[in-house]
């Protein structure tokens, strides 16, 4: 078997998968030193790459400044820069395999991106609606504790006669 024959099935397979439309999600961190006005342009660049390859958008999360769980380093002009926060955003889109590959290639060379991830996902909203109830419970106990104290203070309009009587009782003892 020649090398060409051996490669033929693989080539045919990649040609087949190239046409398949799949649902992808991209999550990215834009470096925090970028100005607020420029963020929209940078995200617009990502959207342009997807549109150029015939992709459709499904959902999107606007970039917001997020604190990172650990500092990340990036090489800028041969120097290592450390960042402890970044503008985190995400886009869910539907596109061909080649579009996802092209998107990865373009983002890899972009210095504005601290880090990014592209992966296959489901079309429906994957974020859960569940919220941990712990924080709310703490607030409720606070209000319950504070309300009876106020009630005690307000319910003490003591007349002078009562006060004198009480004082006499105390001094008599």
């Amino acid at each position: 078997m020649t090398a060409e024959e051996a490669n033929a099935p693989a080539a045919a397979e990649s040609a087949e998968t190239d046409d398949v439309v799949r649902v992808y999600e991209i999550g990215y961190h834009i470096i925090p030193t970028v100005k607020d006005e420029d963020i929209e342009n940078i995200v617009g660049g990502v959207r342009a790459v997807i549109e150029k390859h015939g992709g459709n958008f499904i959902a999107e999360g606007a970039p917001a400044l997020t604190r990172l769980a650990y500092p990340m380093q990036v090489l800028t002009d041969g120097k290592k820069e450390e960042h402890d926060r970044g503008y985190f955003g995400w886009i869910k889109f539907e596109a061909k395999v080649s579009a996802a590959e092209a998107l990865e290639d373009t983002l890899r060379g972009d210095a504005n991106f601290l880090r990014f991830i592209v992966f296959r996902t489901a079309r429906e909203d994957t974020r859960s609606k569940m919220r941990p109830p712990t924080l709310r419970e703490v607030k409720r106990t606070d209000t319950i504790k504070s309300s009876p104290r106020r009630a005690e203070e307000s319910s003490a309009p003591v007349s002078e006669e009562d006060l004198e009587k009480a004082l006499q009782d105390l001094t008599a003892e």
Partner: protein, 66 residues
């Protein structure tokens, strides 16, 4: 059916952006809980594991916590 957080709340997909949900499957050191502790099915455990690793890579969850 296994009695765990995912089935109780009818969660079919685990998203790496759901930090509050994922935090319930890591211990105070940031390590992923074993199936015996998380009580998840094998399929769910794989999904949770994948989501936690994505969240760690994107700096949303720590690799280790001191």
């Amino acid at each position: 059916m296994a009695n765990n957080i995912l089935t109780q709340n009818d969660i079919r997909h685990v998203d790496y952006k759901d930090i509050d949900l994922l935090k319930q499957f890591v211990n105070p050191h940031g390590r992923i809980m074993s199936r015996s502790k998380s009580n998840l099915t094998a399929k769910q455990q794989r999904e949770v594991e994948r989501a936690i690793k994505r969240a760690r890579f994107m700096g949303l969850l720590p690799y280790i916590q001191k």
